[in-house]
Amino acid sequence: MRRVVLIVSCAVLLVSAARAQAQEASPPPPVAPAAPSPSPEPTPPPPEPAAPAQAGPAASKVFNPDMAVIGNFTGAAGKNEVNPRPSLNLEEAEASFQAIVDPYARADFFLTFSNEEVGVEEGFITFTSLPSGFLLKAGKLKADFGKVNTLHSHILPWVDRPLVMTNLLGGDEGIADAGLSLSRLFPNPVLFLEATGEVYRGEVGDVFTAPRRQDVLLVGHLRAYRDLGESTNVEVGGSVARGGSAAGPGAHNLLYGADATLRWRPLRRAIYHRLLLRSELMWSRRESGAAEVAGTGFVPGQTLRAFGLYASGEYQFARRWFAGARYDTSERANEPDQRDRGGSFLLTYWPSEFSQIRAQARRTTYAEGSTANELLFQFLFSIGAHGAHPF
């Protein structure tokens, strides 16, 4: 039944998109060219001719996408017996290619180069001209589950990712997969309300698996935002994800998330001060399959429920300086009785808009009983097109 709804939904969408395009492709109603104003008017001083657009060889580059490369170099000092990071590491080089495809869509590619592999972090088309206020993305996407899962690592206010992401969302990559994302605004006078529904293939690390085609991963997200004055705003969201479980055919794993963000940025001093407080809570429910365990014998399948959260704050106290802190706690999805805890303090320096240097003092107490005190640092640097600042 669900599958049918899905297929029908997609079909409806495609048809309506095609219709919209067909409408726009048909000859537009004749719009009279702006008639020269009949009234006599003092002619303004003739402007200097604008620099002529570069013709010739450069003209062929006009349609090249906006390109940028962001380097993410990290280091770690101190002892961590459970989840050690390399002492020095070019964690990621992310290349982005972004352009408008045609009058109906734009495309964004983010390719990541790490030590051993090249990957497509995201690569999708966004249809910006659908009827009835829909926005459709298709391709490989970071699932719209909560906040931290959707953020590229160079946008995070930390060097690392919170424990809850490592423990419940399958690691630093999080939930990213091939799929379709459809979202819509619900304009109303009270708040910004956006609902997103997504379908993914369903192969996501150890979180979801899709041995059969029908084991797709479904993600739903509801986001509400409101301005509390011109400097302060608040945003809350709720997310749910449901996909196939490794426990066996027909078994499902589930994730629920809740997030809240408070931002403050005084308009008159926007480049000097800002504050961002954010917390995310996540609940994981996984089915474990029945298994033969050596020595114990047959262990029946069971439902594993785990919970985790982080709470984080970042304050910009000067034009180039940010201070931050984060608290982490999370059970492990496959061993819910094991809980890791952590805390971090951060200091970030921006030489310019295009580079930043960050230090993070992190203390993690792992369920095994070992405690790791580490100093992480990071150099982030970007070349190429000027990207938009994240919100």
């Binding site: 009279a32 104003s37 408008i100 734009r106 609902a195 001093r269 480049i271 034009r319 938009a388 919100f391």
Partner: protein, 309 residues
């Protein structure tokens, strides 16, 4: 779970059929208050106009708030300053607006810079070693009243194409604004005429069009490079040059910290003047002409003090 997914899908698609409200007056959204003010001059009460950024805000660093998406969602026309001024925040808003009318290149998107006179278009190799340089030229071009006239004309043409029934009104409004502006320019020329050629320093490269129009000579900047905050060595060099050339006036925008300019002024015996680059930057700057009235008066008073005539 199955039912909730179904309900979500059903809800989404049920609403997809919801009709969009019939178009009343044309809804115009501008990125800055200057463009909104010029639109009001041309449109009068025939369209509704709203700006995303406030006049006392640095237009390079506006946050892409979701509340702006709602405004863009129902807009019929988006007017932007262009020349990459809004590159840090406008593109994602336009993408998420779900409004095909205002996408870049569509009928309801107007880049106000296309017909304006643009200064400081870099030649030769451009690198970020030059700071946050604008490769298409200086985007603060609205601060020349001649450009204000050209922007108003572009807005008149666009509004007339989108709302042909009111084209005669827009043409008449433009003509009235043009005359009002010409009279005001005479006034400003008379006020600032005696100070032609005076050397000044500005914080950011926000004023080339203004200084070009009124004959002021910008000899240096508080920022060592565009977008790079003041450094001690650059500040010392600037103080030395200002003393050598007898420069006494530092123009700054309201959204910059006045600490460094103040200490430069103390060292050089000069004066810091906070001018507003945009309509709405101070409460007196209620429209495009009032913006210049305010700045010109402030500037003339300060120049009188520092030049002694």
């Amino acid at each position: 779970m199955k039912t909730s997914t179904l309900a979500l899908a059903a809800g989404l698609f049920a609403l997809s059929g919801a009709v969009t409200p019939a178009a009343a007056a044309l809804k115009v959204i501008t990125t800055t208050e200057d463009l909104a003010a010029l639109t009001r001059e041309v449109a009068g009460d025939r369209v509704s106009v709203e700006s995303l950024a406030r006049g006392y805000q640095d237009p390079h660093f506006v946050e892409a708030k979701p509340s702006f998406i709602i405004k863009l969602n129902s807009a019929s026309l988006l007017i932007a300053v262009g020349k990459e001024l809004e590159i840090g925040w406008l593109p994602p808003l336009v993408t998420q607006s779900r409004n095909s009318k205002i996408q870049v290149g569509a009928e309801g998107y107007l880049d106000a810079s296309l017909t304006a006179r643009i200064l400081e278009i870099p030649t030769g190799q451009i690198t970020r070693a030059m700071g946050d340089v604008h490769p298409l030229g200086n985007p603060h071009y609205w601060l020349d009243p001649r450009n204000g006239r050209l922007i108003a004309k572009a807005i008149q043409n666009k509004l007339s194409a989108l709302q042909p029934a009111d084209a005669p009104t827009f043409a008449a409004n433009y003509a009235a604004f043009d005359q009002k502006l010409a009279a005001a320019e005479k006034r400003w020329d008379a006020t600032l005429g005696p100070y032609k050629g005076t050397k000044i320093v500005t914080y950011h490269r926000s004023w080339p069009n203004f200084c070009d129009r009124f004959g002021l000579d910008v000899m240096g900047y508080v920022e060592p490079r565009p977008g790079i905050p003041p450094s001690p060595s650059h500040t010392l060099d600037l103080i030395r040059d200002m003393k050598a050339q007898g420069v006494k006036l530092i123009l700054i925008e309201p959204y910059f910290d006045a600490k460094t300019p103040n200490s430069i002024a103390r060292e050089t015996g000069g004066q810091v003047l906070v001018m507003t680059p945009s309509v709405g930057g101070v409460k007196e700057a209620t429209d495009y002409i009032a913006l210049f009235d305010y700045d010109v008066k402030l500037l003339a008073d300060a120049l009188k003090q520092v030049t002694g005539h």
